[in-house]
């Protein structure tokens, strides 16, 4: 199993370093081939909204920067993990910058999924998606929106499996670890 973790935390926010280590430990135990990318360290431009990756250089963004490496790795992966502080219920801007540049993974053409219009997938292989969000304070509205966002992304990416895991400040890391492990087992079943 090939896994890519897109880390959308700022380095100054060290609160999730322990959780990140726990994730890597679990993935190592399973012997899954894991690459974790600290997005803050990488030079990634904003998506220009030009659709060049659909109509000019299909499948490839017209901007050449580190995002090219991310997409190359991602399309060959079985699982993508979004690791982010929950920001108004969604992803951090650091993570979202990398996500916006991944629309080359789909085709411009429309299709219907669950009665709703989405884009056709470019590649046959699609990635399972786990969204791991950190909440500083309990907030049910943010939790629900975050879960919905991960679900919506899984629809657009035709993910065979999706799950949102929320880690709250002060929560026992072991609890997270168990939940993450269970989720990985479920990913393995569908892959």
């Amino acid at each position: 199993m090939k896994v890519i973790i897109l880390n959308g935390f700022k380095k100054e926010n060290g609160k999730m370093a322990r959780i990140h280590d726990l994730m890597l430990e679990q993935l190592k135990k399973l012997n899954w081939d894991t690459t974790s990318i600290n997005l803050e360290d990488k030079s990634i431009a904003y998506c220009l909204g030009c659709f060049g990756c659909w109509v000019q250089t299909p499948g490839e963004c017209v901007i050449k920067d580190y995002e090219t490496e991310i997409v190359k790795y991602l399309v060959q992966s079985d699982l993508v993990i979004y690791f982010t502080p929950i920001t108004f219920g969604g992803y951090s801007s650091i993570l979202k910058k990398a996500i916006d540049r991944q629309i080359s993974r789909v085709l411009p053409y429309f299709t219907k999924v669950n009665g709703e219009v989405h884009h056709l997938q470019r590649y046959e292989k699609n990635q399972s998606l786990i969204g791991i969000g950190f909440l500083e304070k309990p907030d049910n509205e943010k939790k629900e929106v975050f879960k919905t966002l991960v679900y919506r992304n899984s629809l657009n990416g035709a993910s065979p499996y999706h799950q949102a895991i929320i880690y709250e400040e002060g929560q026992d890391p072991l609890e997270f670890s168990n939940s993450f492990n269970k989720t990985l087992m479920e990913v393995e079943v569908v892959s």
């Binding site: 659909w54 951090s92 919905t148």
Partner: protein, 225 residues
């Protein structure tokens, strides 16, 4: 809302003035100008990359009584530059003693035919408003944004009559300091054309655009496998 209050339009499309978000924002703010309100307009993607631009955004936000944020849906939520702007505003507001109440309106559009696909992004904007102490005035949510194609609504003919009606109602309500009425929200969310027609035209248009770049035959390329 008094006539001397400031309205700030923030356009959150990376395409800046050549965007559907700008067309929508311009239409609403023109109506507000006709109702005697003064408007400031800025393009987020022209400012957010640099410290100086970020300072300008914050100064304009501090000066505003009503902020209208217009942006396109990007992968089920807000474009990264818009999220970065909201993060910036939130951090700034935390540093202020007793920050003033500012009204907040969202104009969102997506390329999918269903306006409902914007709901998660709207929920994120609402939480942002709650967190920074802005007063949520409502969101106008539009599907089939591709059909506007960055052209002023006045030049889009009968297709956008409900959209314009909805925006006119919203402008009137905002000028009176009220929330965006439900009727306006419903009018804006109405589909211009049937879904099957929209997707058919959309698919043909992608082929046409790819042909212009000599990429029609490789439009389904899989470069990374």
């Amino acid at each position: 809302m008094n006539k001397d209050e400031n309205i700030l339009l923030l356009v959150g499309s990376p395409k800046n003035s050549s965007s559907t978000s700008a067309s929508l924002g311009d239409y609403l703010t023109l109506r507000l100008e006709e109702l005697g309100r003064s408007i400031e307009k800025e393009y987020i993607y022209k400012l957010i990359r640099k410290d100086e631009g970020q300072k300008k955004i914050l100064s304009m936000v501090d000066n505003a009584d009503l902020i209208i944020l217009a942006f396109p849906l990007y992968v089920d939520c807000l474009p990264a530059g818009v999220i970065e702007t909201l993060e910036l505003i939130a951090n700034h507001r935390k540093s202020l003693n007793n920050p003033k109440k500012i009204g907040f309106v969202v104009l969102i559009n997506c390329g999918f035919p269903e306006a409902e696909q914007n709901n998660t992004a709207i929920a994120i904007c609402k939480i942002f408003a709650r967190e920074v102490g802005f007063e949520w005035k409502g969101a106008l949510s539009l599907g089939m944004g591709g059909a506007i194609g960055a052209i002023p609504l006045e030049e889009r003919g009968g297709m956008v009559r409900n959209l314009k009606k909805g925006y006119n109602l919203a402008a009137q309500a905002l000028a009176e300091g009220k929330y965006i009425p439900e009727e306006a929200i419903e009018l804006v969310a109405k589909r211009f054309i049937p879904i099957t027609l929209y997707t058919k035209i959309g698919n043909l248009s992608w082929n046409k655009q790819a042909k212009r770049f000599g990429a029609r035959k490789i439009i389904e390329a899989k470069p990374y496998i």
